[in-house]
């Protein structure tokens, strides 16, 4: 290849080529992250995300943010430090939510007939936007981990509150009092229905009554800070452009 030769015929063609690559790269990055993030999230926090009767005040609030801050931290490590694009967390969450919504509608509803108001995904957008804004304004991974990670955990429940609140009102049914979400689960029997499988509202924290969700969110935020650090470094590792020789494989 001669370095003096040009790959394009004009500046206009160079610009067009560059833009076309942008779209192809964006599509591939979006779908690959969607696949990896979705399989990670559905198998580490999925049961709490699938069903409204798992969306409790304690374990959903604790588990979902902790396991979901992973990919946003890793993709931020790429898009910010290499390209100065403060959209890593937002892209991850948009991809995840797109994959989830397609699935809940096409398969949970379309194949196995669970109503969408029983199997809608959790909302992670507020935390993602805050994570990206903090990185953009601060330009610091440490600040983003500590402030953004904590905010990621704390914002999860408020971000979902308008959606879940109507399903957390109490109802009395056959002499038992439980939530409307529990009633949905009672009528839509699944292999995950038995109480030895369903992990909700367990433990003595329940005795604190109304304080369960804030305490859980605070703990979740604390662990999210640590997970952010860890996954930021994972992200940096995945950004490598190294070559190895065939002998090492």
């Amino acid at each position: 290849m001669s370095a003096s030769q040009s790959a394009v015929r004009s500046r206009a063609e160079a610009v067009a080529v560059s833009r076309t690559f942008d779209w192809m790269i964006l599509f591939t990055l979006f779908t690959a992250v969607l696949g990896g993030y979705h399989i990670h999230y559905m198998l580490t926090g999925g049961d709490w995300d699938f069903w409204s009767d798992w969306k409790d005040r304690r374990l959903w609030v604790t588990v979902a943010p902790i396991v979901s801050i992973t990919f946003p931290a890793a993709v931020q490590a790429m898009l910010w430090y290499r390209y100065r694009l403060p959209v890593g967390a937002t892209i991850c969450v948009l991809a995840l939510l797109l994959g989830e919504w397609i699935n809940r509608y096409m398969n949970f509803w379309g194949w196995t007939y669970f109503p969408v108001n029983f199997c809608f995904p959790s909302n992670l957008m507020p935390g993602a936007i805050v994570l990206d804004v903090i990185l953009m304004l601060g330009g610091s991974m440490t600040l983003t981990a500590v402030v953004g990670g904590l905010a990621w955990g704390l914002l999860f429940y408020p971000g979902n509150w308008p959606i879940i609140a109507p399903l957390h009102v109490p109802v009395e049914y056959n002499g038992m009092m439980f939530t409307l979400a529990d009633l949905q689960g009672y009528h839509y029997v699944r292999t995950g229905t038995p109480e030895y499988i369903r992990m909700v509202e367990k433990g003595t924290l329940r005795t604190f009554g109304k304080d369960v969700a804030p305490v859980s969110a605070f703990f979740s935020g604390f662990v999210s800070v640590i997970i952010y650090f860890l996954w930021h470094f994972f992200g940096k590792w995945f950004n490598k452009t190294d070559f190895i020789s065939g002998e090492n494989v």
Partner: protein, 250 residues
């Protein structure tokens, strides 16, 4: 003047940098095929997929499994064999324009890889969750598994390895060795398929119910992380393409 006319004619006859027909046809191939598969699941999942001991299960599901396994072996051998056999043995002496054209073809493969990963890791994997929440499994080869594990996963593996082989055999960028993150991006998601062995082994012992967050499933999670290695591939590609375009974009 004559030389200019010749040059214009040569340009007009030259293959386009990006073959949009291939890109759109590839995208539509996966979309139409998987739409058909989803229709098949909808019809024969309920009518013939509930009891693995029923004769109709053999007809509609086990036969599908046998056919897809045979086709996957044939297609992967033919495709990978073709890409390898038709490799460019003078890859370092191609013109910059030809290199740019090959980067576009390479990105067409990568777009297909991302698209195939979406279908496999997102669409059909979470779909498996709702099927097993609904129907208690009585076999390792449930309708959702026959599609998810033995169809959608092999398809993204075939696509990913093809992309890797194309890059390795036709692009100067990848001539200096094996790109570590490219290997991770292809081999990691591939390892999800062997991990099915652990999954089925565990379900045979322990679970009839479905708990998607069960530790038995964490092997899938670990290998799913490897999809992030696409970032390393993107970085290398951005550097290579920038090198080709830089002076024209300045």
């Amino acid at each position: 003047m004559a030389a200019t006319t010749e040059s214009v004619r040569a340009d007009a006859a030259e293959a386009p940098l990006l073959n949009k027909t291939n890109l759109i046809a590839g995208f539509m191939l996966y979309l139409v095929f998987y739409s058909f598969i989803r229709w098949y699941e909808g019809v024969y999942g309920w009518s013939a997929g509930l009891d693995s001991f029923a004769p109709e299960f053999e007809t509609y599901w086990m036969n599908m499994l046998y056919i897809e396994l045979v086709l996957e072996v044939i297609i992967s051998a033919a495709l990978w064999g073709y890409i390898w056999k038709s490799r460019d043995r003078k890859v370092m002496s191609i013109t910059p324009r030809e290199e740019l054209r090959r980067h576009f073809t390479h990105w067409t493969w990568l777009v297909m890889y991302g698209w195939a990963i979406y279908w496999g890791a997102s669409y059909f994997t979470e779909q498996d969750g709702t099927w097993h929440q609904t129907i208690v499994r009585d076999t390792d080869f449930t309708p959702s598994h026959i599609i998810e594990f033995y169809l959608s996963y092999p398809i993204y593996i075939i696509t990913g390895v093809s992309a890797f082989l194309y890059a390795k055999t036709r692009l100067p960028t990848y001539n200096e060795g094996l790109h570590l993150m490219y290997l991770v991006a292809v081999i990691g998601p591939f390892m999800i398929l062997p991990n099915v062995g652990l999954n089925e082994w565990g379900h045979t012992f322990w679970f009839m119910e479905e708990l998607f967050v069960a530790p038995l499933h964490y092997g899938f999670v670990f290998f799913g992380w490897a999809a992030l290695a696409i970032m390393g591939v993107v970085n290398t590609e951005v550097m290579a393409i920038t090198k080709l375009l830089k002076k024209d974009l300045a």
